[in-house]
Amino acid sequence: MSDKTVNLPLRAKGKRATFYKDPAVDQLFAIVTMLTQELSVAFDRIETVERMLDKSGVISRADIEAYKPGEQEEGERTQRRDEYIGRVFNILHQEAASLRDS
């Protein structure tokens, strides 16, 4: 019967195309494209939340736009951004780190 759960396949039958000499670049490209999509979706969700808060009168979008963090808060954000960039680009740092450790 039709009530069993169906998992639709993600892979398309046939050889996966590559465009770069190193297929790792193709994989990376796929990952970056998916990440770009997820970031776009995250923006959409934030915008939805902002608009709903605005509509319900809790916070106005204009207030969000005009918001300026104080000095301490800016410091905390700077720290978070710094760590974030370090995590994302960790690969660039790894070789040097391993040489330093050895």
Binding site: N7, L8, T33, D44
Partner: protein, 395 residues
Amino acid sequence: MSNIRNVGEMVEPNHDEYNRQRFVSILRKKVLMDFAGDMKTIYQKKVEPNFEKKHGRKPKDGREVRKAMLHEPVFEGWSSLRYNAQLMTWWSVQPAIERDLSDLIQAAKDARAANPAGGSLELNPDVDVPREITELDVHLMPGCFHTEYTDDDVAQGAVYHYGTTVFSGGLPHRRITKGGVASSIANYLKLAHPEFKPKRILDMGCTAGANTTPYKEVYPEAEVHGIDVGAPLLRFGHARAEAEGAALHFRQANATDTGYPDNHFDFITSSFFFHEVSVPDTKKIFKECLRILKPGGLMLHMELPPSALTDPYYNFYLDWDAFYNNEPHYEKFRGLDFPEALAECGFEKDKQLMVRIPNFASTPPDEFKAVATGGDTMRRDHGNGAVWFTFGSWK
């Protein structure tokens, strides 16, 4: 209209799923319009001049352009984006379809039981599904046109129907309606050949029927049939048509051997069909069309234009799909000499026609009418569907 649920409108993506779909639509628009323009600029300003310096002439065909472009960073990047956007198109609709599948199947069964519009659905599990479909997921759509995962399955019909909406959802001329090819051909015929009133129409390779429906709208008196090898597409197409009040007759059959009687149809058509078919099968289908077409009837298929009618760069651009979109016959089909191939299959050359039909919904009515009554359209952008290339013959 009936009160059965419309499988074509039932699936509700959640917030993030919807926005993933919107992202893919817009990404595809960027790739096909904006970045494709960048790639062409790089070709014209750099790649072609370099080729000319080296060879003392311009590239003679799409293959030569392709060779010159293959390792250009813009081609690698553009292709990667296009390829990923293609896969992401289907992925973006799958989760909501998985979730709603049993409801979709039930709605399709309800439509079949009530059959309010009076169409029909005839399935044949023994139909000969060609190898290029069973071995390769065409358009990179996982599961292709034919795979069935459960009883009375409509999943692939839904993936195709909702996926193609995402696929063309960012393109300005395609936003208006589904079935753009058929509504353009049907409205063209009505203006160009007002005396031609087909009583029985066949759409070959009709998939989920998006390009079958408009013929019933333009020729409401006609009996409109659609054939395809994919059962889930046909079930879905029939259910959608019934819910929308369109009496369409869907049948699972291979176009090479339809099983219809001789001299049966007044009009035979297809859209984006032949480039998925091998050249030997294409010729078999032409012969089958000749057999089942009534004398005085018309066969007019929409396709990508033959490479003889487009320039080398455009051939390189269009043939991308042959290499990367699991459409292995695409380039060979476009390489055919269309008038010769039709003649070889019995269609007399003086009865053949090749017409560029502007997309009906996005073309100013005066321009559309001028083309239908003998003018040529200056529109050439087949890849993005601003104009549809059609070819065929009277019998």
